[in-house]
Symmetry: C2
Subunit: 280 residues, 2 copies
């Protein structure tokens, strides 16, 4: 088991939580006093992190939401803040990179050295040699896209390949070939619970990152029931907009308090469906 | 036909060239006087661009090579320099992005608004709705990964799906469903000439970007013969390290002159295999 998977398991335990908060800044949704401040993204993230650090197993900043604002510096500060202040909580940099070996090495430098992320998301379309520059960082986690949460996932991922689906093949490759350092994980949308159960059956106890809760409308109970591993863990149930901006889609003055309230409720909803917890 | 494809066709014609120069900075390979200067990447790129602008149909900076150096500003300056100085030459930002709709929109903002790129590369694994935020920019080009140049391409792209290969399906989707704005193009490695001919047969005259020439060892004549469209164009034959750093893999003091010499030779080699040119 890699250092990342061990840290994740400790965070699951410590905070009794499978909740991962996605840090996807949209300044247009920030309260005016934050939007007008210097480094508004970092200030917003810091307030959300301070309000939720004891309720989550990971944070997941999505790269595009920083790049579109030319805010790479605030992404760096956000990750550095989590590491310094709440070192038990790992940070997954969600960039879904994928390129040939020589270039993938540069993306690994970007994620692990420049930003200091504990894990990344990557795209498997280019095959094993495009993943290897990430996987060779044995202490880091590598979340490979498997069955994504969007409707278009059907276009390629659901195609039938030798009696099974393409995303089954990705799960099989991850379990059989790409996990020699014990640092593979998969991204499997919470919006497709049947597919989630199939992936879990293929990969044993491997961690699964589940986007699609909240704004994308997944059924939390069903996703947790179908996705959890034999120990009632193995999941990172990820919510971004639902935690950051609430039901109205716009953060109010007390957005940090609202994020905590939503995170508490979502953690409880997740835990109620975990193996061995239903009657606790 | 989109504004991008029109501009590309004009560049093919104007410079009598199907050569695309990849701008993949590796400061360790720069001459010492450039490596030690302020903004070394921009200075290096500028010299290469000035030395090759009349020999190419496009430039293609690869994002990871800037991000790993925290050099987004020099990427911006490079693209802005091409647009201002050589407005006939389009710039393709090679980031191979792919994410769900809401996030893909942010990546489109990054590429087209922040960096002002004329085209991007994208990954099709997430399906049509992940490409749409790029494709809806009708004046921009969208190069979708189809059959990549690396050995690992076999892992997923060559899997058999209903009597054909996965990369055939991507080519079919691009031709039949994703090209309603006439701005689709594909990435197909020059290293696999048979696959290239199959893709060309599926997509008609659609532009194909061919990485794999130079450092990756593709046979240029065979790639051009198999990849060109009915008019003897339709290709962007991309070379990066071979042009920038030469056969020794390290740029000398006259790297710009060497880049010009290599580009001249590669353009001639490409043109010798173009339809209607062999006996010219």
């Amino acid at each position: 088991m890699s250092a990342f998977v061990r840290a994740l398991a400790q965070a699951w335990e410590k905070n009794d939580s499978l909740l991962c908060v996605g840090l996807d800044p949209e300044i247009e949704r920030f309260p005016a006093h934050i939007a007008a401040a210097p480094s508004p993204i970092f200030q917003f993230n810091k307030a959300v992190i301070d309000a939720t650090h004891d309720l989550v197993c990971a944070y997941k900043p999505q790269f595009a939401h920083y790049a579109a604002y030319e805010a790479e510096d605030q992404l760096e500060r956000t990750i550095e803040y989590v590491h310094r202040t709440y070192p038990a909580i790992p940070v997954i940099l969600d960039g879904k990179r994928g390129d040939v070996g020589n270039t993938a090495e540069r993306y690994a430098i970007e994620a692990f050295e420049r930003y200091g992320a504990d894990a990344v998301t990557v795209n498997p379309y280019l095959g094993g040699d495009s993943l290897e520059p990430f996987l060779r960082h044995a202490d880091k986690g590598v979340f490979i896209l498997c069955r994504t949460s969007n409707p278009g996932a059907r276009d390629l991922q659901d195609l039938e390949v030798g009696g099974r689906r393409l995303y089954h093949v990705v799960a099989e490759l991850a379990a059989a070939r790409w996990n020699s350092n014990g640092n593979c994980a998969l991204v499997t949308g919470a919006t497709y619970p049947r597919e989630l159960a199939e992936v879990r059956a293929i990969v044993g106890d491997m961690p699964l990152l589940l986007p699609g809760v909240g704004a994308q409308g997944a059924d939390v109970a069903q996703a947790v029931q179908n996705g959890q591993n034999s120990g009632g863990t193995g999941l990172l149930v990820s919510s971004s907009r639902g935690i950051l901006y609430g039901a109205r889609g716009v953060a109010g003055a007390d957005f940090a308090g609202a994020a905590r309230t939503t995170a508490l409720a979502l953690r409880a909803e997740i835990n109620a469906s975990r193996r061995g917890r239903q009657h606790a």
